[in-house]
């Protein structure tokens, strides 16, 4: 087994265990005494998110406080995780609106297709990630809850400006 091992000819000073160990201990002591911590103290201190960060969804509203969604049905169709439930409705003026609009954030893979495909720019992904619940049911966001989200929405990738400059 040891036959195939290539033995390097090293300068003799490099083969001293004691010297190498002392060197290493000096290094660790240096870090101990004036090392700068890279830790983020999480709940108080947070990383900045990229403008293209895809997190918790938001439903944008019109000026009179209604959801922009016209229940066209494109987002449940394009959704690869099948996490959007949409039941369309129509009012007396012939305007379509969602009767039921639910997104299961637990199922969602945050691909952002729904945002890309939306003709009304109604459903968006957002720059937000702190969504924890005590039950699976808690992750099913209905229309009201989606409209109540206030975090900034994520930007789409622009092919003309691939690096976002």
């Amino acid at each position: 087994m040891a036959i195939g091992v290539k033995v390097l000819e090293r300068p003799i000073a490099e083969t001293s265990y004691v010297r190498a160990a002392v060197k290493g201990m000096a290094l660790t002591l240096k870090h101990l005494l004036n090392g700068e911590s890279v830790t983020y103290q999480y709940p108080e201190q947070k990383w900045g998110l990229s403008p293209r960060w895809r997190g918790t969804h938001r439903m944008l509203t019109t000026e009179d406080g209604k959801a922009k969604c016209v229940a066209c049905g494109l987002c449940p169709t394009v959704c690869p995780a099948n996490c959007i439930k949409l039941v369309p409705g129509e009012d007396e003026n012939g305007n379509r609106y969602p009767l039921v609009f639910e997104i299961d954030e637990f199922r969602c893979i945050f691909c952002g297709y729904c945002q890309e495909v939306c003709p009304e720019e109604a459903i968006h992904l957002g720059r937000h990630y702190e969504n924890s619940e005590y039950s699976r049911e808690g992750f099913v966001y209905d229309l009201e809850r989606l409209m109540a989200q206030t975090h900034p929405v994520s930007e789409l990738w622009d092919p003309a400006d691939p690096k976002g400059e």
Binding site: I3, V5, T15, V18, A21, T39
Partner: protein, 439 residues
């Protein structure tokens, strides 16, 4: 008078020190009880904070912060962990041998604790009830007792490995038994120069022999023995770079793979308790025990309470320093290979420590023959000079890829030729196949 003459006179006075009789009867019983409670509590609280210190120090070394949430700077972290471990479910592997499985952590834990019974942790206190020896059991066979109890610790680990009925645990247990037996011998050999100088195996006598200005500390007159003792203490406590019984990357968690909750906690506490015990032994045997350096004030009568408390503080400072060294080395050095471990113990440290006993004995005899008494400063300086020479020789000159053979060290010419011959023979005997793998 010259300063040296003053020093000699003071040291001479030290030997004539008078102490009243120790208490007897009920007073003795109560005092021992108080001492037991005190030292047990301090020891356990110490272990708690050493665990916290380890986590914080390792974090700082790795540019992190470590536990800093529970209490101020995370000081209550160990209590939180303890509560968690008590509440956790105890799991028992189906095929484990339960009696030993349960006994093993207890053995580890108690053997780590027992050693503390003989360690003198402060200067004796001449109280109105009589002289109080600040060791739980000031036994005349002190050091032999620590060695004997220290050896018991290995049973905990081996039994844990065996009773778990898990191949990784068993391997961890076997490794630990091999390691402990090898290094216990070195440890015993390393201590003999100290015993030679003290002329006694009682720990309080060893401390008394080192008392004074700090010039007679055994670390100065038996430096090589101290280094060997420290290395074998690392091996005995299974700390990196000697943590082969645990070896996460190879053996899951080694001997305690199958343990959970408080039984795991017992092993964990035992590891840190062992670390503190080893530190206390190093302080006692080589760093003057409770002796305060650069002053004689602590060694002469009257033996007041304040002296006892101060020397107690100094003893703890020494222990904590060694605990820090333990932690520091753990987070610096990588684990040894198994062959390196065995080679270091048997091929280097054992013969060298045997030779060192001869050197120290000869030097001591020659100096006494010339007329330099063991408690004079000339003796200490002579020993110091000899030791500096030996340390430079061993760790500066001899250490060229020989102490611990690294993977990249030069292979001995003879061994290389032998290996090449084997390859040649095998190639001749078995015609080469295209499957590869042999190389």
């Amino acid at each position: 008078m010259t300063p040296f003459a003053l020093l000699q006179a003071a040291e001479h006075a030290n030997k004539l020190d008078y102490l009243p009789e120790p208490p007897s009867g009920m007073a003795w019983f109560l005092m021992t009880l108080v001492k037991m409670l005190l030292i047990f509590t301090l020891y356990m609280v110490g272990v708690m904070y050493v665990i916290w210190a380890e986590r914080r120090i390792c974090a700082f070394i790795q540019d992190r912060l470590g536990p800093n949430r529970v209490g101020w700077q995370g000081l209550l972290q160990s209590i939180a962990d303890g509560v968690k471990n008590i509440m956790k479910e105890e799991t028992y592997p189906g095929q484990a041998y339960l009696p030993l499985f349960i006994l093993a952590p207890a053995i580890s834990f108690t053997s780590a604790l027992l050693t503390w019974a003989v360690i003198p942790w402060a200067a004796p206190w001449a109280s109105k009830w009589g002289t109080l020896d600040m060791a739980l059991a000031p036994m005349p066979i002190g050091f032999i007792y620590t060695i004997a109890i220290g050896s018991l610790g290995v049973y905990g680990i081996v039994l844990a490995g065996w009773a778990s009925n898990n191949k990784y645990s068993l391997l961890g247990g076997l490794r630990s038994s091999a390691q402990m037996i090898s290094y216990e011998i070195v440890m015993g050999m390393a201590i003999i120069p100290v015993l030679l100088l003290a002329g006694n195996v009682s720990l309080s006598e060893i401390v008394k022999q080192q008392a004074g200005w700090g010039l007679h500390w055994n670390v100065l007159s038996c430096t090589v023995a101290f280094i060997f003792f420290m290395v074998s203490a690392f091996a005995e406590t299974n700390r990196l770079p000697f943590d082969l019984p645990e070896a996460e990357s190879e053996l899951v968690a080694g001997y305690h793979s199958e343990y959970s909750a408080m039984k795991f906690s017992m092993f964990f506490i035992a590891e840190y308790a062992n670390m503190m015990t080893a530190s206390a032994l190093m302080a006692t045997l080589f760093f003057g025990g409770w002796d305060i350096p650069f002053t004689l004030w602590d060694n002469v009568a009257p033996h007041t309470l304040i002296k006892t408390l101060l020397t107690f503080g100094f003893f703890w400072a020494k222990i904590l320093f060694f605990v820090f060294v333990f932690i520091w080395i753990r987070w610096t050095l990588p684990r040894f290979r198994y062959d390196q471990l065995m080679a270091l113990g048997w091929k280097f440290m054992l013969p060298t420590s045997l030779a060192y006993i001869m050197v120290i004995a000869t030097a001591s005899l020659i100096m006494q023959w010339v007329g330099i008494l063991p408690d004079s400063w000339k003796f200490a300086v002579g020993m110091l000079g000899l030791n500096i020479l030996l340390v430079v020789l061993i760790f500066g000159v001899i250490d060229r890829g020989r102490l611990i053979s690294p993977a990249y060290s030069r292979l001995d010419k003879r061994n290389l030729d032998k290996l090449r011959r084997v390859r040649y023979d095998r190639a001749r005997l078995e015609p080469a196949t295209n499957e590869g793998g042999a190389d």
